[in-house]
Amino acid sequence: MIEYALLFAAGCYGVALLLDLWRVAIGPDAADRILALDTMVINMIALLVLYGIWRGTATYFEAAMLIAMVGFVSTVAYCRFLLRGDIIE
């Protein structure tokens, strides 16, 4: 039964990634694109943990943690660049 639940959740997150990609494509503002990329990072974390459950290993938690950190830093860096024209003043 958990196989079907895993497939359902992975399908939901796959469709969600496509919708995020659509928002990245149509914009219209840079803030929308940053928000959509941030959401893509969140969805990828969920997909990585789902894959870890599917394979039955705990290896993918470290990858998910790293992606969470890199996603946060890149979101802040992109916003900072648009706000001040510079990332570290």
């Binding site: 958990i2 639940a5 399908g11 939901c12 969600a16 802040v76």
Partner: protein, 129 residues
């Protein structure tokens, strides 16, 4: 893996999948940028939270040990999500709204995005003296 644990993990997975989808659907569906800021918070909290709860139940039922990696990821996401949302909102403000259109902010430093940053030697902590 026991049947009860499997049922709870499956319920958490289905709920998280639905919320992850709803978050991104709202991101496409809502009309305004600041409205769209609202939708993906569902994917952050309930979506990822549901997946991580399912993962904790699964690994506890399989190995008998409680793993804390999931709690770390959840904690990190809960700490960073408001900061990222604040930065995105300020990016939208500085690019699309003018200071005259906004109400007065009640803080000492105004909206802080329309001014230059305070220069290093210019009495930075005046109000503390």
């Amino acid at each position: 893996m026991s049947f009860v644990a499997e049922i709870f993990a499956s319920i958490a997975l289905v709920i998280s999948g639905i919320f992850g989808f709803v978050g991104s659907y709202g991101l496409v569906k809502l009309k305004n940028t600041l409205q769209r800021l609202h939708a993906p918070t569902k994917a952050t909290t309930l979506g990822v939270g549901g997946v991580l709860i399912a993962s904790m139940i699964f690994f506890y039922a399989n190995t008998g040990q409680i793993s804390v990696h999931e709690l770390l990821i959840t904690l990190f996401l809960f700490v960073t999500a408001p900061i990222a949302a604040n930065f995105i909102a300020k990016t939208y403000m500085v690019r699309n709204l003018r200071q005259e259109d906004l109400p007065e902010s009640t803080g000492d430093f105004g909206w802080s995005i329309y001014d230059d940053p305070p220069s290093p030697g210019a009495a930075p902590m005046e109000h503390l003296k």
